[in-house]
Amino acid sequence: MEEEKSFSDICGGRLALRRRYYSPYCREFGLSSPRLSLRSLTAVTCAVWLVAYGLFTLCENSMILSAAIFITIIGLLGYLHFVKIDQETLLIIDSLGIQMTSSYASGKESTTFIEMDKVKDVIINEAIYMSAKPRLDCLIEVYRSCQEILAHQKATSTSP
């Protein structure tokens, strides 16, 4: 069962929360950030090249222009690979654990898996760790689902 809802983050941008119920004890929440806009990319590139052209007219050294192109390409690749997070996913599997995946714009995925023994409880802390920065209503949604599963897990583990 899949559901998609639209929330807004603390800066006012739009975020999409995607909920998937695979089974009564396995749920996945995906939060996707807005994509890289062409407008901002063009603006930054133009600014960098204007500065480089200005330096070139001062120094008459063509190395500056090639250096500017090089810096732009490397900077863009670095930004896409290390900084720009496309989507964050939280997968809860009863009696196995909780897995958090961040996927970057260049396709890189970084995953953390926490075993259920090490999870005492899920709480809402200040949302400074998630790069998507959702508002409280989105977090409450996720929090309620997590608590449902944890409660269910505790009930079945204590029963013989």
Binding site: S23, C26, L91, I93, S95, K118, T156
Partner: protein, 578 residues
């Protein structure tokens, strides 16, 4: 709780048979290691499992049945499989079934309670790649700083148990379904045993080679530890030169690599491999440097350039001293002291220049022979370069020591006489400042000396400042070279290469992916290995270095500079060795 069944992906296409594996009751999970095919005799299966249990301490048992229906469903097979549950009693009894035409399996887990009515449980299927799990080493994130990854015997947590189970069941994987043994098994080696001729040859050859190298290296170590080196001038020179330090470090590495003891743990094995790769890379880079130096008569060019450079440096120093002897930066110096110090240092430089000119015919030969030592490794060549710089700037070091001692003496004299000025004294017994009554003539002489020292302070301080700055410059250059040597020594290249090419061998954990699902069918997950990040690899596997880092912080360095105490940036290197 849901029952978790870990199923190897290689057995998904195997024929019907029995599921052989380990049941972990604390986590309600069944780790399936292999499938035993029909026909078999139950007694022989039980014997094989007992053998495996004795050899590997892993409690393997028959966990259930596996049914792969390639054709139309056969009812007889179904009843036969049900009957097997009575022969191999295991609680819970798993029944996995795969039908033709659908990707989804049907799983059943039956618990036989004592009361007699069997209860069923929900099953969650988790697929794993057996070969990758067998070869990988789990690095627990909560490992203490002292304990090494891979050496923890008490594994905590469910995942470590699963890794251990698969890793220790190697005995089970020795027979496969094409062997003529009593039981035919299917597991990751079912396509045939994996082996490599080169690896086997290397293993056979490593014994005698290690023996030979170990004996050679022990001879070398004995020669270097003999009493001749402990005589005073040699021992002193040896402790000052960084080349000897580096050579000894490398000797230690080599004797560790070629020791005839087998590696006790994966950590030791990785260490050996890292050291070997580091030594090989070092020697390769050294040979490259050697070939570059000896081509195009570079040595000759270098030797011809060396003497003019030394001359130039001495000339610049002379200009500097002339400047100091005049009115440097508009400051008024004490003429007499200035002339004395200036002439003293100028004479030193004159001696130094004569010495360099005396050596100049031999420099090319010396450089040529020293350049040959680059074949021992790039680190040795860099250490020699650092030592040459230290020798060539020896006069700067001497000037710094003279200036610092003079300044230090002055500062201590001033502080003691300042106390006398105020009527106090330093009590050595009580280690504190006490009041004291002085005689009139003591006070008179003390005050005179105090004024003299105060007025001579700017001159000495200026000389001290200039020579300390020069010395710091030389130390910075030497420090950079040592940093590079340290980097080559301690970077774990083998581990980084392993992380790049075979990321599943260094595992930080696992990650799960939910596979396509159908309502009413059990949940299917794929378990993959989450590789260790590069920063953790470097942090865990870095080799111990020479330990030539400065022992004091910036604050204590500034304090020492202010009081004129001599600074030795890399003294007591021996204390930091592992």
């Amino acid at each position: 709780m849901v029952l978790k069944a870990f199923f190897p992906t290689c057995c998904a296409s195997a024929d019907s048979g029995l599921l052989v594996g380990r049941w972990i009751p604390e986590q309600n999970s069944a780790v399936i290691l292999a499938v035993a095919h029909f026909p078999f005799i139950p007694i022989q299966v039980k014997e094989l499992l007992a053998q495996v249990h004795k050899a590997s301490q892993v409690q393997v048992a028959v966990l259930g049945t596996w049914c792969h229906r390639r054709q139309e469903p056969e009812e007889s097979l179904g009843h036969f499989l049900e009957g097997l549950g009575a022969i191999f009693s295991h609680d819970p009894w798993l029944q996995l079934c795969r039908e033709r035409g659908t990707r989804f399996w049907s799983c059943k887990a039956t618990y036989h309670q004592l009361q007699g009515t069997p209860t069923e449980d929900q099953v969650m299927l988790i697929f794993y790649d057996q070969r990758k799990l067998l070869l990988s080493w789990l690095h627990p994130p909560t490992a203490l700083p002292d304990c090494q990854a891979g050496e923890t015997t008490a594994s905590t947590g469910g995942l470590a148990d699963i890794f251990d189970t698969v890793a220790h069941s190697e005995v089970l994987f020795r027979n496969d379904q094409f062997d003529e043994g009593p039981v035919r098994l299917s597991h990751w080696q079912s396509e045939g045993m994996e082996a490599s001729i080169l690896v086997e040859l290397a293993k056979q050859a490593s014994g005698p080679v290690c023996l030979l190298m170990a004996s050679l290296l022990s001879l070398l170590s004995a020669a270097s530890a003999c009493r001749l080196w402990k005589l005073w001038p040699l021992a002193f020179i040896r402790s000052k030169l960084s080349t000897c330090e580096q050579l000894q470090h490398r000797l230690k590495h080599l004797s560790f690599i070629f020791s005839t003891q087998k590696a006790q743990s994966p950590m030791q094995l990785m260490r050996k491999a890292n050291m070997l790769v580091s030594v090989l890379l070092d020697v390769a880079l050294g040979l490259l440097l050697l070939s570059w130096l000896h081509s195009n008569n570079r040595i000759g060019q270098l030797a011809n350039a060396l003497v003019p450079v030394a001359d130039r440096v001495a000339e610049e120093l002379q200009h500097l001293l002339q400047w100091l002897m005049g009115a440097p930066a508009g400051l008024k110096m004490n003429r007499a002291l200035d002339q004395v110090l200036g002439r003293f240092f100028l004479y030193h430089i004159h001696l130094w220049i004569s010495y360099i000119h005396l050596m100049s015919p031999f420099i090319e030969h010396i450089l040529w022979h020293v350049g040959l030592s680059a074949c021992l490794g790039l680190t040795v060549a860099l250490s020699i370069l650092s030592d040459i710089i230290a020798l060539l700037t020896f006069h700067i070091y001497c000037f710094y020591v003279y200036g610092a001692r003079l300044y230090c003496l002055k500062i201590y004299g001033l502080s003691s006489l300042w106390r006398l000025f105020r009527g106090k004294k330093w009590n050595v017994l009580r280690q504190r400042v006490d009041s004291c009554s002085y005689d009139l003539d003591q006070l008179f002489i003390g005050t005179l000396l105090f004024t003299i020292l105060v007025f001579l302070l700017p001159t000495t301080a200026l000389y001290y400042l200039v020579f300390t700055l020069l010395r710091l410059l030389v130390i910075t250059v030497q420090g950079l070279i040592h940093l590079l040597v340290d980097l080559i020594n301690s970077l774990p290249l083998y581990s980084l290469g392993l992380r790049l090419c075979r990321p599943y061998r260094l595992a930080a954990g696992v990650k799960f992916r939910v596979l396509e699902q159908e309502a009413g069918r059990p949940l299917r997950l794929l378990m993959q290995i989450n590789p260790l990040p590069y920063s953790h690899v470097v942090h865990t596997y870095r080799l111990p270095s020479c330990g030539c880092h400065p022992k004091h912080s910036w604050g204590s360095l500034c304090r020492k500079l202010f009081f004129g105490e001599l600074i030795y940036p890399w003294r007591q290197r021996e204390d930091k060795q592992d």
